[in-house]
């Protein structure tokens, strides 16, 4: 990491911060328990209302949403915060944006924070679009003068100028989101905090927002904290990533490393996926092959660029001599529709014992989206056509990401166009008469 002169403090310093919640007991405490607790606290005794020797996550149990998290953010950095649901991402943002106070530790901040934890916070249905821009802008920390200066830009950006003086309750949800985005995209605090806000709205508009935020960050040297499950947007926006898992900070640094860590099924060891304990009971298999693991040789294991060639090492155990063994990888969309199937070459003769196979394949023509594939081991012999040797359902869940530079489909792509992009058709204009 590049070192800044020591005299300049970080713009945000998070110093051993923890945040504790009580499971289920959100304020649900009785006055009597409360008094007993207070009394014990004064006498430095143990909490009389706590259950003794019980560590399960039961009602009233204390739970650390953030557990001793420390890191620093320098001016102008664009930090992505990733982690699974419940990892503490939003809690962290809530602490930094002063919505709630930490239970332990301190957070030092140098500069004005504008946080967008939700699209359209404080929008009021009865007010017009324009009035809501003012209201929402002020709630997010802009002064009236700032909004006066930017209102035209905001309206242009939102693409809904003709409806700007209509009450927002008459808006479609898309229009609503666009207007709310536009306000957010024009926030100009030193520190911008965004939680999943770009995850909705249509693709083109999302791109426009990310571009706008990038521009703000580069040209004005703004610091950005961004939480999203959308890997593509993290990749295109962030300069550094922090990974949280169960309230703990498990990684801080390079974006790609962080993404591969996060997308991994078992945290760190994602590059290798083990099938040892996968349940196969619902498939009729003869058990002559036991699939053991799949190891991706590249860093990124479940997030592939469009058209990327993938190399992976498949380990399996053969129970007997097998003729004409091959593997089938049926690919499914995340809604479960079968897209197509990849076949490996046929292995003429496989001796008993453990084997490692280097597979090289690609999902060419598969459009960006979330997919999964199964792995089926099978022999190309007519003797036992009914049986597969082994089946691992949903062996790998992966995502295809769009290239940053060129759009894959003119006019943008949508899920509705289906998962496959066929090669471009030639179109020649051969009319004789030119008008």
């Amino acid at each position: 990491m590049n070192k800044k002169p020591l005299t300049e403090p970080p713009i945000i310093k998070i110093d051993h911060v923890s945040k504790e919640y009580r499971l289920g007991a959100i304020g649900g405490t009785t006055l009597r328990d409360e008094m007993r607790r207070r009394k014990a606290e004064r006498r430095h005794e143990a909490d009389p209302t706590a259950r003794i020797g019980y560590t399960g996550g039961a009602y009233g149990e204390r739970f650390l949403a953030l557990d001793d998290v420390s890191f620093e953010i320098r001016k102008g950095e664009r930090i992505g915060i990733i982690g699974h649901n419940g990892a503490g991402k939003t809690t962290l943002l809530k602490l930094i944006s002063q919505i709630t106070a930490p239970t332990k530790g301190e957070i030092g901040i140098n500069g004005r924070v504008a946080s967008m934890l939700e699209v359209g916070t404080g929008f009021h249905g009865e007010l017009t679009g324009r009035e809501n821009v003012y209201l929402n802008g002020s709630i997010l920390g802009m002064s009236k003068k700032e909004i006066d200066d930017k209102i035209e830009q905001i309206i242009d950006f939102s693409e809904i100028r003709e409806f700007i003086d209509t009450p927002v309750k008459r808006y479609s949800s898309g229009m609503f989101v666009k207007l709310a985005f536009s306000v957010a995209a024009h926030l100009d605090a030193e520190i911008l905090i965004m939680d999943e806000v770009l995850a909705v709205g249509d693709v083109d508009f999302q791109k426009k927002c990310i571009a706008k935020i990038k521009e703000i960050s580069y040209s004005r040297h703004r610091t950005i904290l961004y939480v999203s499950h959308n890997i593509a947007s993290i990749r295109s926006l962030c300069s550094r990533c922090v990974v949280l898992e169960k309230g703990k900070l498990i990684y801080d640094g390079d974006v790609e490393q962080a993404i591969s860590l996060y997308t991994g099924k078992q945290g760190l060891s994602r590059q290798e996926i083990s099938f040892g304990s996968t349940d196969r009971s619902c498939f009729a298999t003869d058990g002559k092959v036991r699939l053991q693991s799949l190891r991706f040789t590249d860093d990124v294991s479940s997030c592939f660029a469009y058209g990327q060639t993938i190399r992976a090492e498949l380990s399996f155990l053969a129970e007997g001599t097998l003729k004409n063994l091959f593997f089938r990888l049926p690919v499914f969309t995340d809604s479960g529709t079968r897209v197509g199937t990849i076949h490996t070459q046929i292995l003429p003769c496989v001796v008993p014992g453990s084997h490692r196979l280097m597979l090289t394949f690609s999902f060419e023509q598969l459009l960006p989206g979330k997919y999964s594939f199964w792995i089926i081991a099978r022999s190309d012999s007519l003797a036992d056509p009914a049986y597969d040797h082994d089946v691992v359902a949903n062996a790998v869940v992966f995502e295809i990401t769009a290239p940053d530079s060129t759009p894959l489909l003119p006019g943008g792509y949508y899920a509705g166009w289906g998962p496959i992009l066929f090669p471009e058709a030639a179109a020649e204009d051969f009319a004789d008469e030119k008008i």
């Binding site: 310093k13 809530k94 919505i99 002020s138 009236k144």
Partner: protein
């Protein structure tokens, strides 16, 4: 421990006793204004009479009071025995608009956390802005109703239907309004700080406000109490709203009841409640999001 010289803002679990971010609240004054505007604009969208409801409500209430308590029950509309006769309608209206300001501000600021929970759990702004903005919008309503009151007052005054004496004491009305605001916001935020955790009390707010109204000379004149029992009066006057309401009528009508001692006690209680409310509010505002 972070060095407070290095950071403009340090967030920590500790909390200072009286930390309301008033400077910050001042910087957010545009937001206060917009909240007030939102309350007004939103309240009367899609109504036929629109802002006329500001007037229709107190007029109807006053009419009912005049008929039920004045004509049917025959309660006195005098603050001091043997004082000048004030038309019942005007007497009740004076009490009603004062009480209206008090009860609506108290109710809305006692809901400050709960009714803004959605907003407050998503974005930070000095929390005190919410009760202040709602109090200001009720103050504007009060101003409009006061104007209506003085139109009726002028009508009675010039047609000679009652023994009204116009004095420059009417200039005390802004001070009275200020005190009502302080008292109601103080009580409201005190309640709101307690009810984020123990919702039970919230159920009692409506009942509490109604009892308080009975204990204040709104539906009857103070003479009802003072004539019957002078010892009861001493306790009765400790209700901070009583000196406020009687002082309002004393200032507006030029006659009635005024006791400086009780009035000062009322101010003392008002300021104490406000201070306590603010302390409790600042205690709870940092983490109420977790308990709401």
């Amino acid at each position: 421990m972070l060095d407070s010289k290095e950071y403009s803002l340090i967030l920590s679990p500790r909390h200072r006793l009286f930390d309301l971010h008033l400077q910050e609240a001042f910087r957010h004054r545009d937001l206060i204004f917009l909240f007030v505007k939102r309350d007004f604009v939103a309240a009367y969208k899609q109504t036929v009479f629109g802002p006329l409801w500001f007037f229709i409500n107190p007029i109807l209430t006053t009419l009912i009071f005049t008929v039920i308590f004045g004509d049917l029950a025959g309660l006195p509309t005098l603050d001091a025995a043997g004082g000048a006769a004030i038309p019942g309608f005007l007497f009740y209206m004076a009490g009603n608009i004062c009480w209206g300001l008090f009860s609506s501000t108290l109710t809305s600021s006692s809901n400050a956390f709960r009714s803004n929970a959605g907003l407050m759990s998503k974005v930070y702004y000095p929390r005190i802005i919410s009760p202040v903005a709602s109090a200001l919008s009720h103050l504007i309503t009060f101003g409009l109703q006061l104007a209506m009151f003085f139109v009726l007052y002028a009508f009675v005054f010039f047609t000679g239907r009652g023994e009204l004496v116009f004095t420059w004491r009417v200039l005390m009305i802004p001070l009275i309004a200020l005190q009502i605001m302080f008292l109601s916001v103080g009580c409201g935020i005190l309640i709101s700080s307690v009810t984020t955790k123990y919702r039970d009390l919230n159920m009692l707010v409506g009942l509490f406000v109604r009892f308080w109204q009975y204990a204040t000379p709104i539906m009857y004149g103070l003479s009802l109490v003072s004539e019957k029992n002078s010892r009861l009066l001493k306790v009765y006057m400790l209700n901070p709203m009583t000196p406020i309401v009687t002082f309002f009528r004393y200032s507006a009508f030029g006659s009635g009841y005024f006791s400086l001692a009780y009035y000062l006690i009322s101010w003392a209680i008002t300021l104490a409640v406000l201070l306590l409310g603010l302390i409790m509010f600042s205690r709870i505002e940092r983490s109420f999001v977790d308990t709401i």
